[in-house]
Symmetry: C3
């Protein structure tokens, strides 16, 4: 029986995920502000997050933490006096980080502040302007086309205050100080695959890993605004990550019922790359593809910048910008599937289990084979015309446990099942035939 | 003319091999005992073996040399008083290393001590029990099924004595102390491909190599019981092998008229791997396949254990367990072909010849090409519209004799014939254009 | 706009090339002598050559500079008194480096001194005898067959004098002392692809590179007799080349309207190999093939001899001996195309431009991405649903400018256009985001 299967008995309640989704959906998130704090508050019901508030203006690496954005109201009154584009009706309707504005303008003046997508006439686009002060509204193109001439009253009651940027993390201790680093972002407003699927997957992955009777590795879960958040996190904790990280992932876009895409780390052949590839290939029934690292994408851009070059990969369903609903109001609850989200949690979980077991051993009796009979380790039934599979596993393990090959590389080289190799390794450890060199 | 061909004029007398086969066939071999000694006595007529007796109980690496097994008689009397399963009629009929037993039992009690193969109803299986004390008989399944109810008299007159385990070796000195190591086992009773083909090939390969007018390399031929024998050999001579071995083979299963399988050494790209691959690919008309090292198999398991990791490969015809007659009475004289055995000797011989010539040279005039005209080395007829092949060989040799590439790697990179490259190298050596760096 | 295209506006006048071709054609070139000097005189009108005369008898590496060959006259009078095989009518008709001879002989005696090609009955072969004293005449096979019996008067008025061997070079200085080395030979008499195409291409490439407003690299152009010339050049300048050469080419056989063949340097993956491969693959519309280094060929045999192992490749149209007219009177003006020659100059020029820009950069802000907004480097239009291509180029450049990857390797890894990557690099240099590590 595969250990991975035994643990997999544990399964999230899909309804529970959906409930959290519904509560998180309406919050007006951005890279700073109350919407983020409320999001982290709700997630804290699932995972014990510790919060870190970084004051506006703090220098982090090459960047500066921006002012905190406060939104009190935002809407437009049409020439007929109708209230449209109310931020509280759909928070995508206000350009994120809009400057305050109050005034009246003609339709043609207003046009410079409107954003829509002619190819997707029903979609409200998601637009931000973090580092260039401007204001604007987003709306479906069909609606924009129906706006008539006349005078529009604009109200954007926003403010930039000397506040702070919110990051949260939880650490699940293991026997070793070697860490698995899991990062997701919480800065997008009401979107589903490219926002809530990531934090929800990470929070529920915590529950699974916390339920393990014991853990070799330490797991670090971080929730932060994209880009500026990971920059800030690295400014404070980059040295720690360099020293302790065995494997890492940015977890985002995992809610689509689409093939898995493994985007490898910049290192390309690190433990995280080889382990994720093994699980996708041998312990997964879903279609997948594997991409070499590329420097666009999400927060792995920061973790894999050349000065860090951390082993951070990403496992994605619906690569950013590959699904047409990306960064629009169409990336909503209808688009994603909670079953798909649960599968994604399962695959991430399996990878973590494999990382748990992916140790480098050294065969203590490296000269010749050990005399197994005196250790009750003559595996198999003892029929003599065929070496039994257990014996073959044992031979692979002993021959390649030379202090250089980790268990995943032995599985890959031998074509043998990783979980079975681990079972044999446990028996050899008990029999003092092998010892842990690195793990 | 290829040197390999010139030497190949020498050819064993197939009848002579067959005569030795017939004399060795009936001996009751095991990992210890008189059968082994008689086998080595007969082989000594072909190859001057020096014997090494290791006392029972001697510690060798993680193992201990077992007691010596003495067989005086073994048979069963049926309820009708018929004598069956007489060890002297066919020595596979007694489980190898059976404990002594004398007594009477019913057919159903006896069943626990009988071994047969339902899928091969005519075959007597080969069963051993070296490290778990038990006794038993092996028989064709059809015969087992015909045994009737009643009382059977069992006689197993065996004994375990404080004796010794027998290993033998012969060393054929060359100019250099660098060694080619050739190992075969002599512990299986009456079987043909998976026993006698190995020792016979090795003994007759000795004759060929001894007939060479001179040898660069030293050749070490060892005959020993599988597993415990190579373990013991390594315990005494492992350090010597580490220091001196250029290339090695375990020679076994070479009598079938089947494709050649090269099982590479654990190192994978050592001289032995590259040389054997070259010969199979370019100097061989028989089908072949090449496998990366795997840690099950024969004594290469010990030689390639991670603490030694010696460059020991194997060239096999009928991989263990790939021919259905493996480890049964069907692996007999009818199964093998003495022509095939002779071909195997030829291929091993060619590999040895290539190893003889596989030297790393250094071009003495490494800056620019040497001025060949003053050395009478302008090879070819001097026609000018086409560089002659001899000149091309010379250019490859001189350009890549940089102290790093051995001759096999130059042959592989250039696609030029290895034996012709060697001829050119000999002329360059005489002209002091190149010198030997390692060989 | 691609930089390569902008520079390419410059184009040689094909008629000008043809005029030089016509003037160089009739000269009787050899490895020494007045024909070579006159050739270099004419080429000096295009490229400012500095001449180096190495006295006969000078030891150069393993070789010795031969005596200078002086030809005053050479012809045969037939039994009918007709003058044939006059060297001044076609200089291929005299075996190059023929010893002097005056005398009368029968047709059958003369036969030992005649060279023709039965398979190419119209062709005069090109035959030399630099290091074995002999004399001879070359003629079309059809003409040889028509010679009648009788007495022939032979006149070869040649002399070997204590003169010198002529080499010339021009150096085009750049900001850096790192050099691009370009070598061609001027020792073949009246042949077109395998003689004049090389020197003409190199001389006109000089004009293009000299017209560049500035150059990072220094360019060294050398014109010398094949083999003995490059040997001599290395004897005097080999250490300098080892210290300064970034990339090199032997330029020869570039006048045929045939596919390009890149023959890589012995190093195989040096800057010159990767750059030429990039240009052929991505910035070239002509067919091409790529060959690994082989040690026959032209002067790269010397530059790539193991004691130098310089990064010298060759880009050829009509590999030596691959076109049937090779080394005969059929390799003439009709065979080549001046348009093809101009294309070859263009490709060599593009490779030089790429070498100019192929720098290793280091991202100064290696930890995390730089904050681009404050540097006005947020490239692209800022539309948010798709990362703009300029931004992607910037991300590739910054992520892989780690002090190890040169720009060509970033182009190859990313699949992005090299010239656009360079444009981005220039903007980043100005913004102090990257610095030059090696270039």
């Amino acid at each position: 029986m595969k250990l991975s299967n035994s643990y997999s008995a544990f399964q999230e309640d899909i309804e529970e995920i959906e409930n959290y989704f519904d509560r998180l959906w309406p919050l007006l998130r951005s890279i700073t502000g109350e919407g983020v704090r409320k999001t982290h508050d709700i997630l804290s019901e699932i995972i014990p997050l510790e919060r870190m508030e970084i004051p506006s203006g703090t220098c982090v690496l090459d960047w500066e933490v921006p002012k905190e954005w406060v939104v009190r109201d935002a809407y437009i009154l049409t020439p007929d006096g109708e209230k449209i584009l109310d931020v509280w009706e759909n928070n995508l309707q206000l350009v994120n980080y809009s400057t305050p504005f109050k005034g009246t303008m003609s339709k043609s003046e207003l046009e410079n502040h409107l954003y829509s997508i002619p190819e997707l006439p029903d979609a409200i686009p998601y637009v931000t302007s973090y580092y260039k002060p401007r204001w604007g509204f987003c709306l479906p193109d069909y609606m924009r086309k129906s706006m008539k001439e006349g005078s529009y009253d604009i109200c954007i009651d926003t403010e930039f205050i000397q506040g702070s940027m919110t990051l949260s993390e939880a650490v699940l201790k293991g026997e070793s100080e070697r860490e698995v680093f899991l990062s997701t972002y919480t800065c997008h407003p009401s979107m589903a695959n490219n926002e809530l699927s990531g934090p929800l997957a990470l929070a529920f992955l915590y529950k699974r890993l916390a339920a393990l009777p014991n853990r070799r590795l330490t797991y670090r879960f971080v929730f932060l605004p994209e880009t500026i958040g990971s920059i800030a996190y690295l400014a404070y904790n980059g040295e720690h990550l360099i020293k302790t990280m065995d494997a890492g992932f940015t977890v985002t876009c995992v809610g689509l019922d689409a093939p898995f895409t493994l985007k490898k780390s910049r290192q390309g052949n690190s433990v995280v790359d080889r382990t994720a590839e093994y699980i996708l290939q041998y312990d997964n029934t879903f279609p997948y593809k594997i991409l070499e690292f590329f420097p666009s994408g999400s927060d792995e851009r920061q973790y894999c910048s050349p000065g860090y070059n951390l082993p951070v990969a990403s496992l994605i369903r619906g690569l950013y910008a590959e699904f047409p609903e990306y960064h629009t109001s169409l990336d909503n609850k209808d688009l994603i599937s909670f079953e798909a989200l649960s599968q994604s949690i399962e695959i991430y979980y399996k990878i973590c289990l494999a990382l748990e077991k992916n140790v480098i051993y050294r065969n203590v009796i490296a000269r010749g084979e050990p005399f197994l009979a005196k250790r009750n380790l003559l595996l198999g039934t003892g029929a003599q015309r065929k070496v039994e599979n257990e014996m073959i596993l044992l031979q692979w393990l002993l021959n390649f446990s030379d202090g250089k090959h980790d268990l995943i590389s032995i599985a890959n080289r031998s074509g043998q099942d990783f979980w079975l190799l681990d079972e044999i390794a446990q028996r050899c450890l008990e029999a003092d035939l092998i010892e842990i060199v690195h793990g």
